[in-house]
Amino acid sequence: MDAQSAGPAAGVPIGIAGVAKSYRTARGGEVEALAEINLAIAAGEFVSVVGPSGCGKSTLMMLISGLIPATSGMITVGSRPVKGAVGNVAIVFQRDVLLDWRTVLANVLLPVEIKKLDPVVHRQKARDLLRSVGLAEFEDKYPGELSGGMRQRVAICRALVQDPGLLLMDEPFGALDALTREQMNLDLQRMWLRDRNTVLFITHSIEEAVLLSDRVVVMSSRPGRVADIVVNDLPRPRGAHTRSEPRFVEHVERIRRHFLALGVLSET
């Protein structure tokens, strides 16, 4: 067991140096998905990535997870370079991909089984996590009995039960209604303030990105590049009150201007 599973989880730093990714198409051509990304993320930092569809946000996430290899460049998670699946990383997708045949608790315990972690300790941890998102009474229910927001909460618990040094989230709240989404943002912030995992959060929503992040990475498309990085030191915990602060509005406007310049947004 490493030191992390004992105390509160601590995030790990991420290094992305000169990373590019191109795909070979069926016709033999090449499509450049990402061109030369350089980004350093501090341990325990919450970084969002926003950008138009097809800018390679999700590709970047998959590269960091080690599930697909980069064409060039180097990625480090913690101090180790990424080669193949990284043990210290947990992923939350837009689709919750809960296993319908397992109860809520058994779903949360899936990584514990696969990684062969201590079952007794993690069972308690899974219960605590479910309670902290208001799902204590649903432990023995099947996912088919839960609403979309509840399902995504279970998926987040499933990611956090592993005490990941890095949490990768690919538009995790994209499929939820606006109200549930706002609640999920606050829940996520609360859990992050408690655990301080490093988080890479991909979203389409500029406001969501600004609300949650220490820094927002703005990407341009085809091939994906970093267009801007907005540093956001608004005080935490943030909430509904944060949205009316001048600096919040300023950050949102700055990112929106990028999207206007990129032609993703148009005011005419």
Partner: protein, 270 residues
Amino acid sequence: MTTLAAAPPSSPTRITAWIGRNGPVLAIVAIIFAAWEAAVVALRVPDYILPSPSAIAAKIAGSWQLLMVNAFVTLEEILLGFALSVAVAIPLAIAVVYSRIFERVAFPFMVSLQTIPKVALAPILVMWLGYGIMPKVMVAFLISFFPIVINSVIGMRSAEKEMIYLVQSMGASELTTFLKIRLPKALPSIFGGLKVGMGQAVVGATVGEFIAAERGLGYLQLISQVRLDTPLLFAAVVVLSALGVLLFNAVVLVERIALPWSRVATEIAE
């Protein structure tokens, strides 16, 4: 919990609910039988053309032992054919999902074989395998095999790519991914194939008996036809149908026990 878990329904309400669900169907069946009975009596239709439902019932009661002896023969053929189908189809489905050669060569080959009417192979199988139980088992196998393979393949391919990424990110091996994701995810689809396959196995065994047999319900039908014993012919049909319904529901029962979560999902969908 208490607010969510409904109290177990007492038996009178269950019976009422059952009648409420199945009442219309039962009523229609009763009307058909009554009309049939009345028509046969009123028009003085001879028994060897169309026996009345009561005559068929009397025949079933009178020839109970004969019908059961033959039903067990047919049942044995169906179950052996079906078991053979499952034993071959599921490993083959796994091979198709995991092996390129099976996917590109064996699978298209099987699909093209599917277009051959298996019933047409029955005389050949009799020629090769004789008059015993084997040719019937083989026809039942051939005819029930395909729906099980195709549904298993579809099921094992149905896991979302995110689901696979997710367990891979946890360091799961291919075997773990299969056991924890692909197989359980495929089970509803596999059971769909098993239900169709069981029905097909009944057809296969009966047709096998039509071609050449010395025992079995299909054989009993042939004999009754030759002897113009139409009530016995109908009685054999009734027993064969009951057998089919029974076997189908046996698969449904196993499915319900094996997949409690699936029932939850369908109940909510309803």
